[in-house]
Amino acid sequence: MGGDHLHLDHVSVRFGAITAVDDVTLTIRRGEVVGLVGASGAGKSTLLRTINLLERPQAGRIRIDDADIVDLRGPALRQLRQGIGMVFQRFNLFARRSAADNIAFPLRVAGVPRAERQRRVAELLELVGLGGRADARPRQLSGGQQQRVGIARALATHPAILLCDEPTSALDPETAGSIITLLRDLNRRLGLTLVVVSHAMDAVKDLCDRVAVMDHGRIVESKPTIELFAAPEHPATRALLRREAGLDLPQPAQGAGIRLRVAIHGAADATALLSATARRFAIDLIFDHGRIGHVAGETLAQVLVRLPADAPVSAVIEHLRTGGAQVEVDDGR
């Protein structure tokens, strides 16, 4: 981890009357993996594309390694783009070129001599686990293999920044997982700075150190991934998380008693706090709904628990909070 790598300063992008990106300020450290998450149309892809100037912002500055890039044009712009890799949702491979030729493309653009190109392509194919498929055409490869070629192509010229636009959205869950693992691995081994756009929280939870949630062109919440999952603040974040966690219950709330929405993270045995609470107050905790899993390498438990009507609600809440849990009374919404 180094210092600031990428700095977006009050960046706005407008398409006619539509403001796609609205006054976004974001700093990304060297080697950091940052997710840009939001509903479709939130402006996350547009924001991503300003970093290699595929979209030029109408307002704001963008600095990479303290150099302002917004006004770059011609050869200087192409030079910049050679130093930034990009991975696409639909892979965007050249259909009439082999896997090896696809990966060699940025090297040819950069004027790398033929022998050096061949050596580098072989190295990259190994890196993404496609050693034997150099001569395969994209359509002869599975979706996951195509994305691996896409990633190898993006890495060909040793970029320090990798932009990923919905890298797993076109893949089945298992393949998506292997691509996430690959990206995380590349980040650790090569020290790459990753910016990952996704419409789904699930896709970024194991990959990103930090997540910025976008809504209507603005970044509405930006914090370490585990904190975002455990304690989402903005309504847009909550909407995204609830939709995926499936923690919404039918209306009206079923059963008697007071229902609490509890999130516990960090501890390996997060739910021990709940049983300890039940013992302490000698009450039954009824679990209506919940999910226990791992986010960014930490355990996260999110549960809806029902307390008996005669339970000392405020004392229970206090006890849970002291134990490190986020608690709120669930009103069914």
Partner: protein, 221 residues
């Protein structure tokens, strides 16, 4: 039809084929040299693309449409001054090549534009994000990826050219189509007409077959 006509038919046909070959050959060359770049220009100057240029696109688009909407016989006459300048004469197969070339260039440019439009915009984006120059993007991505479609467009253009070249007989261009009209139609030599038509059908079939084969091969490799 007398014995003499029968005896001269192969020679006449051979001569006519040579003239058709010359006219179509020159026009094909012009199409490759001018039609493809104009097709590329029509595509890449479109709004939102990497060389967007609305006035230029409008001008070129208008010119190709004027050429394509003018009936070829009239184009032939309208272009006589240009033919005089380029070919040095307004008579003969070489002179006929000039209007043929102009028509073919405009026709192919539009077909090429359509073929280029079939290239996945994602590939253009990938090339741009790799820092490719416009030149590399056009040659190594657009034209390379559209090659099967461009070959099909070329096949259609070539076959249309053979049809148009028949009309070039009006300025003394000669050729197989002209032979069919002059001998077969005006002189009521039905066998000559049938023979020339058969030759034309075979020629067109061969071109279509070869074009399809080449395009398929390019799609696979």
């Amino acid at each position: 039809m007398d014995a003499e006509s029968w005896a001269t038919l192969p020679r006449e046909l051979g001569h006519a084929l040579g003239e058709t070959g010359l006219m179509v050959g020159v026009a094909t060359l012009a199409t490759a040299v001018l039609g493809l770049p104009i097709g590329v220009l029509l595509f890449v100057t479109e709004r939102g693309l990497f060389l967007a240029n609305r006035p230029l696109r409008l001008l070129v688009s208008f010119l190709t449409n004027v050429i394509r909407s003018t009936p070829f016989v009239i184009l032939l006459v309208l272009l006589l001054p240009l033919t005089q300048i380029i070919a040095g004469t307004t008579i003969g197969p070489l002179a006929a090549s000039v209007p043929l070339s102009v028509a073919a260039v405009a026709f192919f440019a539009r077909l090429a534009e359509a073929a280029l439009r079939e290239v996945d915009p994602g590939m253009i984006e990938a090339a741009l994000s790799a820092g490719a120059t416009s030149r590399r993007l056009i040659i190594d991505v657009l034209v390379w990826e559209a090659l099967p479609g461009l070959v099909r467009a070329g096949t259609i253009t070539l076959i249309s050219l053979i049809g148009l070249s028949a009309m070039a007989g009006i300025v003394g261009g000669g050729g197989v189509g002209d032979l069919a009209i002059r001998f077969g139609y005006y002189r009521y030599e039905t066998p000559t007409m049938v023979a020339t038509v058969v030759v034309l059908v075979v020629l067109v079939q061969l071109i279509q077959w070869f074009g399809d084969w080449l395009a398929k091969r390019l799609e696979r490799h």
